[in-house]
């Protein structure tokens, strides 16, 4: 192998063909509310932890739908479970249970 000082960089493209559908289906069974998100962002805006650490239920759901599991877990690891997102969610998503369910299904 020759070092040219540059090389092929990994693609950042989302490939929906390779998303782990089984895990997501298991998640939707455990907490069906995951399907209800309409990406309004209220959760991230009110989040207690997001003042310190990038934390967003909205983006975590999206990441899982896009097959970016690591990113989803990263977006939830700082969650303090305070429940503000549950209170502000206009679709009434049970975000606390959703977060725990995501961590249980996808976490190591």
């Amino acid at each position: 192998m020759i070092d040219f000082g540059f090389s092929v960089s990994p693609s950042s493209r989302i490939n929906l063909d390779s998303v782990d559908r089984e895990s997501f289906a298991a998640l939707a069974k455990l907490e069906p509310d995951v399907l209800k998100c309409m990406a309004c962002g209220s959760c991230s805006a009110s989040c207690t932890a997001s003042q310190f650490e990038p934390t967003s239920v909205r983006r975590a759901i999206l990441s899982l739908q896009n097959g970016q599991v690591e990113q989803a877990l990263d977006l939830l690891k700082g969650c303090m479970m305070c429940g503000k997102c549950t209170m502000v969610c206009p679709r009434g998503i049970n975000t606390r249970h959703l977060i725990i369910s995501i961590q249980k299904i996808y976490g190591k």
């Binding site: 003042q51 303090m80 009434g92 049970n94 976490g107």
Partner: protein, 636 residues
């Protein structure tokens, strides 16, 4: 107490009392002996199991508590009131209380007095197993022949007492039978479905005392009797003629007793024997550490499956949620049904009402929390962002003037209800209180929501960070507007030298100290007890003191420790929005029964929940107070 009694009545050797059977044995005692032996061995093993699963620390704590006079006295009182008298049930449902005390106290006294009788009249039979000490006092009336010519006054008194006690028990049994048929008449809407063992034990229990009555009546002319047994004896004689008919009834009596004891460990009636242990452990200050072992096991077996918690549970405003009640949770724990255990553990609102009304005092929400812990505590989290905060917070940097200041911590939820924060701010101004606002810009969660989710480890991290900030502030009073925070601050923070106050307490104190003067309005107010404030921290009176000075305080049908959760508690992990809304409606219905002009509550969560369903204005506690502060003349 019993020993005093015994010493007062010295044993005698009465002449007219003769064992009808020289070796004091008859085959019919066998079922009973088998049953009682089984239950005693089972109890012993169970006790060892429970003690074994306790941590070493807890075991020592338990042992010590037995010798601390204050705890020992409390133990005695609780044992008598809870196990025998059933005062808790009396308070809520007198008829049900009478039923329980009739059976429990009546039976207990029958045993004690029976033994006393044997001790006085046939002391030899208490001397050892070989003398029949296991069964003799129970079947005393069978083995003895009393010469009517020698009947003493003392004997007659005992006959009378024993018949009276039997009648007492029978009245309880009668009520129990009636309850089975018409439970609603005794004030219970829902009751549990008994299992097979429950049924066996139940029917045996029902049969034991009528059979005892029959058996003792058959032998009443030989062994003596009183107003109950004697007339029955005459009647039987008149009908049956042959006095040897009494054998089948004694057999039946013994079999029922034996069966009852055999079925007991597998039935709800195990609570009779477990409750005393639970009382001792609880009074020793033990806590649930594992959901199925040690203290929790004692709680599980102490559950009487009475089902009082079914009606109490706020989730049951919808029929479909009946299955999530504590009684079923405990039942599944006993049966090791893990799927259902987790489902129920996660669903619960943790409002604590079931524990508050439980006659046995089983704190099932705590078991549920620990059950959640077993699954959720190991979930990854990363609060490393809190480290720098905790490190920079240094007590030595605090201003000296801070000591006299009040430190206000609004908490996450209060930040969603700015009205509460605004009201607290106005209150501070009006009362001239010097204060600091800890989480004005960036707040850290108090840790209670993590605890409720079973993420105890994570909670500790948040607690640590907040604790460092509070200690670094130098303030000696911590003021909270959120009861969720209050509970965890009180129980888990260990803030030494810092007084933790909920704003209901603080305002009550300000009013009492004259720092604010309240103006009594004409509004009819009903106060909603937030779960975490009332049942969680025992604060019922302070808010009521203040509110009655502010308006016309009405009573809701269910209030104080029976208050109905608003439904939005962070305790529940899996209740969905629709179910929560239904509970909120139910909670509001209860409050609206008082026909108030406005509802006041003292929790940001309840405030939001009730406001969404209430037909009348809903006010936060501080808001209601601030609206009614008389402007001070001395200040601008």
């Amino acid at each position: 107490m019993i020993s005093i009694l015994i010493s007062a009545v010295q044993p005698v050797t009465p002449e007219g009392i003769i064992d009808r059977y020289p070796n004091s044995y008859n085959h019919f005692v066998l079922p009973f002996v088998i049953g009682i032996s089984f239950i005693l061995v089972y109890l012993l093993i169970g006790l060892i199991r429970v003690l074994y699963h306790l941590t070493g620390e807890d075991r020592i704590k338990l042992l010590k508590s037995l010798f601390i006079p204050k705890t020992a006295l409390k133990n005695l009182k609780d044992l008598f009131c809870d196990c025998l008298l059933h005062t808790k049930i009396w308070k809520r449902k007198p008829l049900l209380g009478y039923m329980h005390s009739a059976i429990a106290l009546g039976w207990f006294l029958l045993i004690i007095v029976g033994h006393l009788e044997v001790y006085i009249f046939a002391p030899r039979h208490l001397e050892g197993i070989t003398e029949g000490s296991l069964y003799y006092p129970i079947f005393y009336r069978f083995f003895i022949w009393i010469n009517p010519a020698h009947e003493t006054l003392r004997g007659t008194v005992f006959f009378f007492i024993m018949d009276l006690l039997l009648l007492y028990v029978l009245s309880g049994i009668g009520l129990a039978m009636f309850k089975r048929v018409r439970s609603i008449a005794l004030g219970m809407r829902h009751t549990t479905k008994p299992s097979l063992a429950d049924r066996v034990a139940l029917y045996c229990l029902w049969a034991i005392f009528p059979l005892r009555l029959l058996a003792e009546s058959f032998t009443a002319d030989l062994s003596g009797g009183s107003f109950l047994t004697k007339p029955m004896n005459w009647m039987f004689k008149a009908f049956f003629g042959n006095e040897l008919n009494f054998m089948p009834t004694w057999w039946a009596y013994s079999i029922c007793l034996g069966l009852f004891f055999l079925a007991m460990p597998f039935s709800r009636y195990m609570h009779i024997l477990t409750e005393p242990l639970l009382i001792l452990m609880r009074n020793a200050g033990l806590k649930v550490r594992k959901p199925r072992k040690g203290f929790a096991e004692a709680e599980i077996y102490a559950c009487s499956s009475c089902g009082l918690c079914i009606d109490a549970c706020p989730m049951n405003s919808q029929k479909k949620n009946l299955k999530y009640s504590s009684v079923y949770f405990i039942r599944f724990l006993r049966r090791h049904n893990n799927r259902r255990i987790n489902e129920i553990a996660d669903k619960c609102l943790m409002c604590g009402k079931c524990a508050a009304i439980c006659p046995v005092g089983v704190n099932s929400p705590e078991i549920r929390r620990v059950q959640r812990e077993t699954l959720n505590n190991s979930i990854n989290y990363d609060y490393s962002y809190l480290d720098s905060i905790a490190q920079t917070a240094k007590p030595e940097n605090a201003e000296a003037s801070a000591e006299g200041k009040v430190l206000y911590f609004a908490g996450c939820m209060s930040h969603l209800t700015p009205k509460i924060i605004k009201s607290v701010e106005s209150l501070m101004k009006a009362s001239g209180t010097e204060w600091e606002f800890l989480d004005k810009d960036k707040g850290i969660c108090c840790g209670r929501p993590q605890m409720l989710a079973g993420k105890t480890q994570a909670a500790r991290k948040a607690i640590q960070a907040n604790k460092a900030l509070i200690e670094a502030s130098g303030c000696k009073t911590l003021l909270l507007s959120c009861p969720i925070c209050l509970k965890v601050f009180k129980e888990e923070y260990g803030l030494k030298g810092i007084e933790i106050l909920h704003y209901t307490q603080f305002i009550d104190r300000l009013a009492k100290e004259g720092k604010i003067t309240l103006e009594k309005g004409t509004e009819a107010i009903v106060y909603h007890d937030p779960c975490e404030l009332g049942r969680g921290c025992g604060i019922y009176n302070e808010p009521r003191n203040v509110l009655s000075a502010v308006g016309d305080l009405k009573k809701a049908p269910k209030e104080r420790d029976e208050s109905v959760c608003c439904g939005y508690s962070l305790g529940s992990m899996t209740l969905d929005e629709k179910d929560r809304a239904k509970i909120a409606e139910h909670s509001v219905d209860n409050l609206m029964a008082a026909n108030p002009d406005c509802i006041v509550t003292a929790c940001p969560m309840c405030y939001r929940a009730i406001r969404s369903k209430s037909p009348v204005p809903v006010k936060d506690f501080a808001e209601a107070v601030v609206e009614n502060i008389k402007p001070s003349k001395t200040k601008k």
